[in-house]
């Protein structure tokens, strides 16, 4: 039986920079994971729907617009509506240091800023899935 880690990499919000998300998506692929990449400008409903239909183990959100404090709670809300409130979520992008504990308080597992090694992301995923 083959069991692969499935990760959704989504870019909610309105900024148009997906380089970071693509770098992470590729690194996770190279680490042997199946990465569902949904592209730019995803609404919270779209993120939650993709997570549901694809039965992912984990969600990575790339947010560079500064709207993280508004977007993340709405995504958690949509996930909860679909019974996915326990799904681990990590955030990457430009997040001011003061906001990191706020996001974690909301339920975000980890926040990765600029300069993060993709190996750290892989390690975080494996750790949070107990794999």
């Amino acid at each position: 039986m083959e069991r692969k880690i499935r990760v959704l990499i989504a870019k909610p919000g309105l900024d148009g920079h997906d380089r970071g998300a693509k770098v992470v998506a590729r690194a996770l692929r190279d680490a042997g994971m199946e990465v569902i990449y949904t592209g730019l400008r995803q609404t919270p409903v779209m993120v939650a729907e993709a997570a549901l239909q694809e039965d992912v183990d984990l969600i990575g959100l790339s947010i560079l617009s500064g709207a993280h404090l508004a977007l993340v709670p709405r995504i958690f809300e949509e996930l909860a509506k679909r019974g996915l409130e326990t799904l681990p979520v990590f955030v990457g992008g430009i997040i001011p240091a003061d906001d990191v504990p706020v996001l974690k308080q909301m339920g975000v597992g980890e926040v990765f800023g600029p300069g993060t090694s993709t190996q750290d992301v892989v390690a975080f995923i494996k750790e949070s899935l107990g794999a």
Binding site: M1, E2, R3, K4, I5, R6, A25, R26, L28, R29, D30, A31, G32, M33, E34, V35, I36, Y37, T38, G39, Q42, T43, V45, M46, E49, A50, L52, Q53, E54, D55, D57, L58, R82, G83, L84, T86, L87, P88, S128, L129, G130, A131
Partner: protein
């Protein structure tokens, strides 16, 4: 099962929940089926009597021809008639890392918040035919759950990746202008399994040439050259003639030609039903299914009987050039069927 996952009390509950319309339960069942897990096999066995109702449409063609965009638009067209549908989109697994980047949803944005559409991305997981090993079973489950239409989008397929014809009732081949001359099209393979041929990106000036080349090839092949979906099974029944694959033009990004494509797909289905080809196709699909499982079971049985030790010995003999691979395999088989015999010839 990974620790993060909230478990259902009973896996029997998954089946009835999925049948009752719980999409999360369906998603989890699809994972079980994709992973070849016992829960998945049990669900398929239990739900099998409900299958056979969906119209399964295969969409194949070269990488970059615009398959995903076309599937997205086609799905919107189908939704406009109020029908629910499922999409299974296959992308390749990296042979090096075993990972995959599944990016087909990217081109289906408009469907992303429509609960009448269920999109599932699948990695090919090393299977060579353009779809994944478990794609057939995933389609079967979606059929059982009651989706009247299931679209299967293959990996960017070359000439020989024709396995979608073993799954679909109607195969749509998507070509884009400027991707090779008519000699490419003359080569065996995808052209022969296409029930409908689409030249996408038809707003480009080279599109006319592509259409002409395809028309020429189609005329050259004649009806005898068209085998259509189900063509890969041994032809125990005569090939049903009478369907001439139409060549359509679309510009998927501009939403042009999409309703004509849906009309052609429905016309093909009507043709299948009225000509009796539908029954032939179903019989071939069923036979292919049974044969495929037989092969799988047989391989497992043989591997078990032969054992790692004898397998390694045979490989060593081949490496030392003492025995060619075909003879080595034949001897292993002989040894497996008659366990007392000395495997060394």
């Amino acid at each position: 099962m990974l620790s993060s996952r909230k478990a259902w009390g009973l896996d029997l509950g998954l089946e009835s929940a999925a049948l009752a319309g719980d999409r999360r339960a369906l998603a989890r069942l699809l994972s079980h089926v994709e992973n070849g897990a016992a829960e998945g096999r049990a669900a398929l066995a239990a739900l099998f009597s409900r299958t056979g109702r969906a119209h399964i449409i295969g969409i194949t063609g070269s990488p970059g021809a615009g398959k995903s965009t076309l599937v997205g638009k086609l799905a919107q067209e189908i939704r406009a008639y109020g029908r629910r549908l499922a999409i299974v989109a296959v992308d390749p697994t990296s042979p090096f890392s075993g990972g995959a980047l599944l990016g087909d949803r990217l081109r289906m944005r408009e469907l992303a918040s429509d609960e009448g559409v269920f999109i599932r991305s699948m990695a090919s997981r090393g299977h060579p035919g353009g779809i994944a090993h478990a794609t057939r079973d995933v389609v079967l489950l979606l059929d059982a759950i009651g989706f009247p239409v299931v679209i299967v989008e293959t990996v960017g397929a070359g000439q020989a990746q024709v396995e979608v014809a073993r799954v679909a009732h109607t195969v749509v081949l998507v070509e884009a202008p400027g991707m090779g001359d008519d000699v490419q099209a003359l080569k065996a393979g995808l052209m022969e399994i296409a029930d409908i041929i689409v030249v996408n990106k038809a707003d480009r000036p080279e599109a006319k040439q592509t259409v002409r080349a395809l028309q020429f090839v189609r005329r050259d092949m004649g009806s005898a050259g068209h085998h259509g979906a189900g063509a890969l099974q041994p032809a125990t029944e005569p090939v049903v003639l009478g369907w001439d694959p139409p060549i359509l033009q679309t510009a998927a990004i501009e939403s042009q030609g999409i309703s004509e494509l849906w009309d052609a797909i429905q016309a093909h289905r009507r043709y299948l039903e009225e000509s009796g080809a539908w029954d032939v196709l179903r019989k071939r699909h069923a036979r292919a299914e049974v044969e495929s499982w037989l092969q799988r079971h047989l391989m497992l049985l043989l591997e078990e009987r032969i054992g790692e030790l004898r397998m390694n010995e045979a490989v060593d003999r081949v490496l030392r050039r003492e025995q060619d691979p075909a003879t080595a395999a034949r001897n292993l088989l002989g040894a497996a069927l008659e366990p007392d015999r000395d495997p060394i010839a």
